[in-house]
């Protein structure tokens, strides 16, 4: 799974408007990358980790795969949570130039990756 995850995003980046991502496994944060110089990497990782956890805790999807979308005034976080517990969180700018379709396709593809 690790190799699959590592090669998964590298084949899909860059995506216009994507400022950070985080891949989280049930027991740990697998990888976080921040592309924007206007964001603090530690604050960004904290935000993505917290959002993933809060979504699953407060709006649980049971054993189903689920999509979460957190919308803030200037940023939004898309989360694809797989049934096996792996999650991909994408931090995206709020502007008209964002490649929304590629964001959705990436979330979709993450959900379809082979099981761990």
């Amino acid at each position: 799974m690790n190799d699959v995850l590592e090669s998964f995003l590298s084949s899909r980046l860059p995506i216009v408007g994507l400022v950070a991502y985080s891949i989280q496994l049930p027991d740990r944060v697998f990888a976080t990358r921040c592309f924007s110089k206007s964001l603090y990497p530690s604050a960004t990782e904290h935000m993505l980790t917290r959002v993933v956890h809060s979504g699953q805790t407060l709006l649980p999807a049971g054993k189903s795969a689920a999509r979460y979308c957190w919308i803030f005034e200037c940023l939004r976080v898309y989360v694809a949570a797989r049934a096996d517990g792996a999650c991909l969180a994408l931090l995206v700018e709020n502007n008209a130039g964002v490649q929304w379709l590629r964001i959705q396709e990436t979330l979709q593809a993450f959900g379809e990756l082979p099981k761990r």
Partner: protein, 352 residues
């Protein structure tokens, strides 16, 4: 008839198409009842000479020009005449080009061919014409979003009345902020997004009138971006499977669907709770545990605030969860909290 001595506005139209220049100059002079002075240039050096000789209120610049293209010339104008108002005209609506032009300081990006009255309406507004008398535009030519953005950027107060064959709506702008929208039964952001999703029709810009109540509080940049995103997603969605998990897990998109399409997808609302920010229940439907839902509002708001510490996220608006079979939306607004839970029927069994 206007007096020749009345205040004239100066425009310079730059285009390599001499026929277009002649026609548009004559039409604008006529529509402006002689109030506008229209000068023309067929290339950039002519345009620079004209500007050097006499400044103008607005330059109307064709993007596709031989030699130096309009974007390069726009860049040059920005350096040579900072603050010069420029409207770009283009034969193709390319979002990347449009964005570049606006980033380089163009006030407006319009698509050719353009109806003269629509061009007049846009230029008239830019040149600071008194809006009290109102004007009309055609959305297929001058985008509704462009007009909204212009009004907001200028910090104006106005009422934008939008109409199509079977739909009519109003967008209220007060001191450069969108404060209310309504369209049929819809009010607030959903009405705004619905109106901005219209692909044709007419609008009239009228003097501001206070609405019965204000339903929108977000920044206009956010609202317009959200409208653009929803429109993009709706466009891409139309060529994809309707039940795919690829569907945006964001109820904003679902909420602007027409009842007919929602019904076709079989969405069933299972629970609704609307409360004030103080926790007073304003409306509930099939809500089994109001207390736990009110607690959920609090926790979500708190978690969102704590998660976004140290980032430039801005105010938290909403969160949604979508499993493909069920969806939950929680919206947190300064004055109210909303929860909607809905379900989609299970897909038909497949026979292998």
């Amino acid at each position: 008839m206007q007096e020749e001595g009345s205040i004239r506005k100066q425009f310079l139209i730059v285009d390599d198409d001499t026929e277009f220049l002649a026609v548009v100059a004559a039409a604008l002079k006529k529509v402006s009842k002689g109030q506008w002075a229209i000068r023309t240039a067929t290339n950039h050096s002519q345009a620079l000479e004209q500007l050097k000789a006499q400044p103008v209120d607005t330059v109307v610049l064709d993007v596709e020009m031989p030699g130096m293209d309009g974007i390069e010339f726009l860049r040059l104008l920005g350096r040579t005449y900072p603050g010069q108002q420029v409207v770009m005209l283009s034969g193709r609506m390319d979002e990347a080009v449009r964005k570049t032009c606006l980033e380089l300081g163009a006030t407006l990006y319009l698509e050719k061919p353009i109806e003269f009255r629509a061009l007049f309406a846009a230029l008239d507004s830019l040149a600071g014409a008194a809006p009290q008398s109102g004007f009309r535009g055609v959305m297929q030519r001058v985008g509704l979003e462009d007009v909204l953005q212009m009004e907001c950027l200028a910090g104006k107060s106005s009422l934008l009345v939008v109409s199509t064959g079977n739909r009519r709506g109003q967008i209220y702008i007060c001191n450069g902020e969108i404060i209310h929208a309504q369209s049929g039964q819809l009010q607030g952001e959903m009405a705004l997004y619905g109106l901005l999703a219209l692909t044709g029709g007419e609008f009239t810009l009228q003097p501001f009138a206070e609405p019965a109540r204000r339903t929108i509080s977000g920044q206009y940049q956010f609202l317009l971006t959200e409208a653009a995103r929803l429109r993009d997603e709706a466009g891409s969605q139309s060529v994809r499977q309707p039940r795919s998990l690829g569907r945006a897990g964001d109820f904003g998109a679902a909420s602007v669907e027409t009842p007919a399409t929602t019904e076709a997808r079989g969405v069933r609302i299972e629970e609704v709770l609307l409360s004030s920010s103080a926790g007073e229940v304003l409306y509930q439907w099939k809500c089994e545990s109001i207390e736990s839902r009110l607690e959920l509002f609090k926790k979500l708001e708190q978690q969102a605030m704590e998660a976004s510490k140290g980032t430039p996220s801005g105010r938290f608006h909403r969160v949604s969860m979508d499993t493909g079979n069920s969806c939950v939306l929680v919206q947190i607004q300064p004055t109210f909290r909303l929860l909607v839970r809905s379900a989609l029927p299970a897909p038909p069994p497949t026979h292998e």
